[in-house]
Amino acid sequence: SKLHAEEFEVKDIRVDGLQRVSAGTVFSAFPVNVGDEVDSVRLVEASKNLFKSGLFTDIKLGREDNDLLITVVERPSISKIEIDGNKDISTDDLMDGLKSAGMYEGQVFQRVTMERLELEILRSYVAQGRYNASVDAEVEEQPRNRVAIKLNINEGDVASIKHINIVGNSAFSDEELLDLMELKTPGLFSAFTSDDKYAKEKLSGDLERIRSFYLDRGYIKFNIESTQVAISPTKEDVFLTLNITEGPLYTIRDIQLKGELIVDEDEIRRLVLVKEGDTFSRRLLTTTSDIISRRLGTEGYTFANVNAIPEPHDDNSATVTFFVDPGRRTYVRRINFRGNVNTADEVLRQEMRQMEGGSASTNLIETSKSRLERLGFFKTVTVETPAVPGSADQVDVNYSVEEQASGSLSASLGFSQDSGFILGFNVSENNFFGTGRRVSMGLNTSKSVKSARFSYLNPYYTVDGVSRGFSVFAKETDFDNLNTSAYILDTIGGSVTFGYPINNFSRLNFGLTATNDKLEAGDESALEIVDFVNENGDNFDNLTVDLSWTRNTLNRGLFATQGLSQSFSTNITTPQISDLQFFKANYRTNFYQPVDRFHKWVFRLRSDIGYGDGYGDTSELPFYENYFAGGMGSVRGYESNTLGLKGTQSPTDSSAPRAFGGNILIEGSAELIFPIPFVDDQSSMRTALFFDAGNVFDSSRDYNPELSELRMSTGISFQWVTAIGPLGFALAKALNDQEGDDTQIFQFTLGQNF
């Protein structure tokens, strides 16, 4: 049934050789219909179209009087793909690569795609410096027109860099330039960091670093003439040679500003970081350009574009011209939030400093982003400002957040020898049901402590951030087994607090707390307690006024890496109304300074200074208001609340003397926060090396603060924020513990983030 050249009218079309592909697919991909007049040219064209479907390895056209016969051979489908021998590139990445090229189980197998993929995988290995890697695919025929593919990969080993040589450098030494580079000749840690392994991307990164190193130090004409990468015949060693020409050192002759400045010229001139005579520095110029465009951004020109063009002259000086193009004044049409599945829209929107329908300002958008981060409800906050399609001067601002647990829930049922059965239920949530309100409540009973508390705070009672909150608490503590001197104290009370922002970072808070304390000094109580009770009685009603000022510029609510938070708070009992007259004042600071660009290494300083004293007819700070020190959150390495003077024992008390605290607290710690190796998602963990120092002193027993008296310790701490709350562990070594101090090597807390 040879195909005749001349035309004929198709009566029917028959397809032979189909196994899996449906006849419909063939008919729709073969643009010829029953009743069509066809000639060989049109048929060839049609069969080419059918071939394009990629489903068939072979298509033959035949003719039986007026029936058109299409005989096809289907491509086999892939039944299984196996990959082995790969270590450096994960199997999933390889599978994804195959999938994106249309090679996955059930799909049609195309040999040409297979070869292309082999080449691509090989090339990605070579790019990683694995020069003697080999990739080959075995295709095994299987029944029912299927094929199984086995990809054998031999990664070979990575050529290590044996020699890096820079030719043509005179202004800076080889060591200085080599130090900039990520690629190194094998050093001590190369087995871990594998920085001696050659990779093309790393080389281009290094070249860029060297180039900006020179351009930042005045060498405008610096140029990398050529780089050679050579390999030893055994393919194990790589030799890098960089040939550079430094060119002369340039200084800046003068600075010119061109384009529409929007802001007056001398304000812009003040922002320029370089002046006549300075050595030329590209980094300073690009930073200046950023500063100017951000300044224009605040004026509403978010699409401002500023760039510095140096014009070298032959007397080794250069004129720098800043071209300022403000673009159009832009407005924000809508602010959208994505990802706040549990947190209400208002909780995010009330942090916004940028208004919808207002002139767009880059720093208002940035401040809003850091305010969201400072809430501590979100693991990550990202912002983009896409232009609104169809309008040249409007943008949308899209914040996408990733929520994280912002509180702790702990129910404890335990037993310890000294406080017997412990039953506790504590929940504290800073974002109560996503409403942004802070709620915490606790019920705890044990032999030594029975307490109940409830507190509520609405940080945004008014839209400006005036906060209002209240709390009630009742507590009965038998101190004798809390390694503090023995007495029983029953307290009940409540407080109401208000607070309001006085500027972007600081707040003023004030409130009233009414308490009733009942004291019972047991026969084992320390003498100081007995004296106090004799002097002041054992039942006090106090109304204290609490005033505090806080200022917080931390960049994140949880695990900050930059910024400073300080708070100065005082609480004074009101003279006439309260039975006791005393005051306490505290100054706390928390300072973070990132070491590297990615904030992986952060230096932290924490300090906490407190002083309390009686006034009027109360001679000293009531002992139960004493500060305590030691333990987690204070001076690690010492048992909690055991630092400072001990209470003088009553003659009848046989047990060891117990800590009594003091009215002066001095405490601080310095930490180096470091990334945990081999763990990639560290957003909810933090490890740090720490040095703690601190103690409590007691002016009334003239145990006054001295440096030598400060107990010190060092060690390593680990914090992990889990769904039920923050866990804290610390391994600490007390440095100058003196006789009588109770040290503890391992300490942990649940539910207390600090």
């Binding site: 029917d12 028959r14 397809v15 050789g17 063939v26 029953v34 007049e37």
Partner: protein, 333 residues
């Protein structure tokens, strides 16, 4: 106390607001719901407590065996677990191998009629196999076969008639509902059934026979001598919204549309000139390039809607038509 309640069924009493009526002297074109809900035909009442529906059982369509002869009072037919498009060519093959020439064929009705049997040795053997050989050899006989869509999807029903005819040239007889020679016809069905069963490898499909029964709602008709068009077997607003959806799915830029005229003005297949504010600054407001280069027309023909495409300047080539319509077909929902 209502504090804790499973709310996953509350969606039942969400009510649909009715469209805003805008007093006629206002412009209302700005109002266009971004979340239109397509109309549905089947309105069932919703249970209070929602239960995830189990998947429909499509296995009933899988026959236990592939070739079954079924009888219902006098009628008998062969049920095959294959589409008619595939059985038709196999049947051709069967006649050929039994030396019988097919005189008349009407694939659209699935009807075949053979020549008078007995003219070849093979056809004589066939006659004897359905015990009509020997004594009755002289009387002229021919066979009619009728293929139809099975009750279940992708299945075929085959019936045969052995007809007594007068000698001489025959015409294409009308298919008779009643069997003629029942015993011979049933025997013939068995023979065909076993033939088909051990010729499964012969898998040839016929385009004509493929259409026996059943077509889909949206199809691309590209007859040889007429312009290709998308046939939308839908009411106007369903057709209009499917076309809109198709255009959006194929992300073809719709510059303007005229719903009453059934027209879409689209800008397709041109490099996206950089439309930054620079160009509007210098090239004045009406840039020389016309906003759209193709027009899609939705018009009603014989009860169904047709979507054709035309070019604004110059006449459109068949390739362009097929390209745009195929792109739309893939994305129409």
């Amino acid at each position: 106390c209502g504090v804790v309640r499973d709310r996953s069924n509350d969606y039942i009493n969400a009510e649909r607001g009715d469209a805003i009526v805008v007093p006629d002297w206002y412009r209302s074109s700005a109002i266009e719901s971004r979340y239109p809900i397509p109309p549905i035909d089947k309105r069932t009442s919703l249970p209070e407590q929602y239960v995830l529906p189990t998947p429909p059982d499509a296995t009933i369509t899988i026959l236990t065996e592939n070739y079954v002869i079924e009888k219902l009072d006098s009628q008998s037919w062969l049920l095959v677990n294959e589409t008619p498009g595939r059985i038709w060519p196999s049947l051709d093959q069967f006649w050929e191998e039994n030396g019988v020439r097919v005189e008349y064929e009407n694939p659209r009705l699935g009807l075949m009629q053979t020549e008078v049997l007995g003219s070849t040795l093979l056809s004589k053997q066939l006659l004897s196999r359905i015990n009509l050989g020997g004594a009755t050899a002289d009387r002229p006989l021919l066979i009619q076969a009728k293929l139809g869509q099975g009750v279940k999807r992708n299945t075929t029903e085959l019936q045969v008639r052995v007809l007594d005819v007068k000698s001489g040239p025959q015409d294409f007889k009308i298919w008779s509902g009643q069997p003629n020679r029942r015993v011979a016809e049933e025997k013939l069905l068995e023979i065909i059934s076993s033939y088909l069963e051990n010729n499964q490898s012969y898998r040839s499909y016929s385009l004509l026979a493929n259409d026996i029964g059943g077509t889909s709602k949206v199809s691309l008709i590209s007859g040889q001598n007429e312009r290709p068009y998308l046939k939308l077997d839908l009411a106007f607003d369903r057709a209009w919204s499917s076309a809109t959806k198709g255009l959006r799915g194929a992300n073809i830029k719709v510059v303007d549309r005229d719903r009453s005229g059934g027209l879409f003005y689209i800008d397709y297949g041109r490099e996206e000139e950089s439309e930054g504010w620079f160009s509007s600054l210098f090239s004045g407001d009406d840039s020389d390039r016309p906003e759209y280069n193709y027009i899609l027309r939705l018009e009603e023909v014989e009860g169904a809607y047709r979507l054709t495409v035309d070019k604004t300047d110059g006449d459109i080539t068949r390739l362009e038509e097929m390209e745009i319509l195929n792109l739309l077909l893939d994305n129409i929902s």
